[in-house]
């Protein structure tokens, strides 16, 4: 049995290839600032993958490298490949990447403040030409009933409602892969729970694959299937969500638990700093 699994024929291999794979990419901003130094990760079809790490580790940059939005910020992929559905997408313009089925929900929601909720949703479907847009708007309202009542400008929505609108707008594009950048930013703990329940629902009910960047490691790992932890532009640890949740280092640095008695005192700060470097 084990041998049969190893000798898969190429066709079956292609079918089991991940939806998105990022291979050893290097990203440079303004031609000088090296942000990602050889980052690789894989996002399998139909899964939620969490990308965790501290501020400035390069999580958002990774997402922008995939969605192509890097180009709008004077950054570029100088080495490595981003492969989506078996095709390289490193050098493609961001609007064409959306057409291929990758949609990024940017950090800080970025809904269009001077448009109504409905106009924002219709813009989410900009790349579509079919006539099921109305039905999809209804579906978004079923996911987020409170958006239906908001008829004013989107700029006056609460933070949580804006996040819902941003996710709803992503649903309107019917993407294969949603890149979600810090959905919990600036939300109350209760609202964070609600938003993550919706992310899980998106994945299970609509079958959307999600790559999730998050500061709140605990809640991210609770919905994710697989997780990557990055520091200073590199992946330092990866594994299934259960594995990461029980890993002692992750527990200590990202989940704020464990770590034994000796690390709770300032006397042992040196040991903490050394440990913080991971490898």
């Amino acid at each position: 049995m084990a041998e049969a699994a190893l000798k898969m024929d190429p066709v079956a291999d292609a079918a089991s290839a991940p939806l998105l794979s990022v291979d050893n990419i290097e990203v440079v901003y303004n031609d000088v600032i090296l942000v990602l130094r050889g980052l690789s990760l894989k996002v399998p079809q139909g899964k939620i993958v969490a990308l965790l790490g501290s501020n400035g580790a390069g999580k958002s940059t990774t997402l922008k490298a995939i969605s192509g939005l890097l180009k709008t910020e004077d950054g570029e992929i100088t080495r490595g490949d981003v492969t989506f559905l078996g095709e390289k997408i490193n050098q493609i313009e961001p609007d064409k990447i959306v057409r291929r089925g990758i949609f990024q929900v940017m950090e800080g929601r970025r809904i269009i403040a001077d448009m109504t909720v409905l106009e924002n949703l219709r813009l989410g479907a900009f790349t579509r030409r079919d006539n099921e847009v109305k039905a999809d708007i209804e579906r978004v309202y079923e996911f987020f009933p409170r958006l239906r009542e908001r008829t004013g400008l989107a700029g006056y929505l609460s933070g949580g409602e804006q996040q819902m609108l941003a996710i709803g707008r992503a649903m309107m594009a019917r993407p294969k892969l949603i890149l979600m950048d810090e959905p919990s930013m600036g939300l109350s703990p209760l609202m964070v729970k609600e938003v993550f329940a919706i992310i899980k629902k998106l994945n299970t009910e609509l079958g959307v694959t999600i790559l999730l960047v998050e500061q709140n490691a605990r809640i991210a790992l609770s919905v994710a299937d697989y997780g990557y932890i990055m520091e200073q532009g590199k992946i330092v640890l990866d594994g299934t969500a259960e594995m990461l949740q029980t890993n002692e280092d992750v527990k200590e640095f990202y989940l704020g638990q464990g770590g034994g008695e000796e690390r709770k005192s300032f006397k042992n700060l040196k040991s903490f700093k050394r440990r913080k470097r991971w490898l």
Binding site: S67, G68, L69, T72, E73, E93, P94, D95, V98, R99, F103, Q104, M106, R110, I112, A113, D114, M115, E119, R122, L123, G124, F126, T127, L153, G155, Y156, L157, R169, A173
Partner: protein, 297 residues
């Protein structure tokens, strides 16, 4: 007799004002979509009018078709200007872009003088009656037509930005180019389209004014008159451009009334919009309808 003149001038002001409003909208369209202050807006009127005039006089095409061809040509022309001249300037300092549009303005003026001469050329007569009587006031038939067309264009713009896919995409691009791209909108397409629409609609205004006054480089002064209108309205507000246009049109004509009846300075109507501009900007620096960003607290 004086009230008769006053009403006549108010009516003229409203008619010319709607034209200013339409050209103002075109100006705002380009500014909103691509953040370019287009100093060559008046030349779009000029080129459009000359194209139509040339089609009518040299080829004897019926007015309706000549008009349509001229507008279609200007659509393509506007996009071409954006593609060839302004696209390479994306990301350059705003002052460079402004200098380029000023350069374009001078270039097109000279080009038109070289091609068609410096004298005003009358349009071949299009309407059987030159003037019609509206409630006892004389109105040029061409202006009557222009008001109808202007109102239709304004309604078209309102529909376009509220309901059409590309209209929403343009508003998204005006909000943030990065957000627009994240939604799958090609910002380059939006830029080109905004220039195309702007040039085409300006050509409509150019033809109408040309029908009344004859076609000459004086048409491009319209582009200068439109500045106080759009700045009054707030530079980034399409609705503001229309209101600003009406205000400028009315002010001009009221200025003429006051001047001819009482002051006898001569030419007050030329400068009064600019006086009003200074006063309004002192009170409302964002213009009448200019939006400040929504801050959610």
């Amino acid at each position: 007799m004086e009230t008769q003149l006053l009403f006549q001038l108010i009516l003229n002001g409203l008619i010319v004002g709607t034209l200013y409003g339409v050209v103002g909208m075109c100006f705002v369209l380009i500014y909103k979509a691509s953040q370019v202050v287009n100093f060559a807006q008046g030349e779009f009127l000029l080129i459009g009018a000359w194209t139509c005039w040339w089609l009518l006089t040299a080829w004897n095409i019926p007015f309706f078709w000549g008009f349509l061809i001229a507008v279609a040509f200007m659509m393509v022309f506007g996009m071409a200007v954006q593609l060839v001249v302004l696209r390479p300037l994306i990301g350059e300092p705003i002052i460079s872009v402004i200098m380029v549009t000023i350069g374009l303005s001078i270039f097109f003026q000279a080009l038109m003088k070289w091609m068609f001469g410096t004298f005003a050329q009358p349009f071949p007569p299009i309407f059987t009656v030159d003037k019609v009587n509206v409630l006892g006031l004389q109105v040029q038939t061409a202006y009557l037509l222009s008001t109808g067309v202007s109102v239709a264009i304004m309604a078209g713009f309102a529909w376009f930005f509220k309901y059409s896919r590309m209209g929403l995409a343009m508003r998204a691009t005006a909000f943030s180019q990065q957000v627009a791209q994240s939604l799958g909108i090609s910002v380059r397409q939006v830029f080109a389209l905004s220039w195309g629409i702007s040039a085409a609609v300006s050509a409509v205004a150019g033809v109408v004014v040309g029908m009344v006054n004859g076609v000459s480089s004086a048409l491009s002064y319209f582009g200068i008159k439109v500045f106080p209108a759009v700045i009054l309205g707030g530079l980034d507000s399409i609705f503001g451009a229309v209101v600003g246009g009406l205000i400028v049109g009315l002010l001009e004509n009221l200025g003429q009334f006051v001047d001819s009846q009482y002051l006898k300075w001569g030419n007050l109507y030329e400068i009064i919009p600019f006086y009003a501009l200074i006063i309004i900007l002192m009170i409302k620096p964002y213009g009448l309808f200019g939006t400040r960003d929504i801050e959610r607290v």
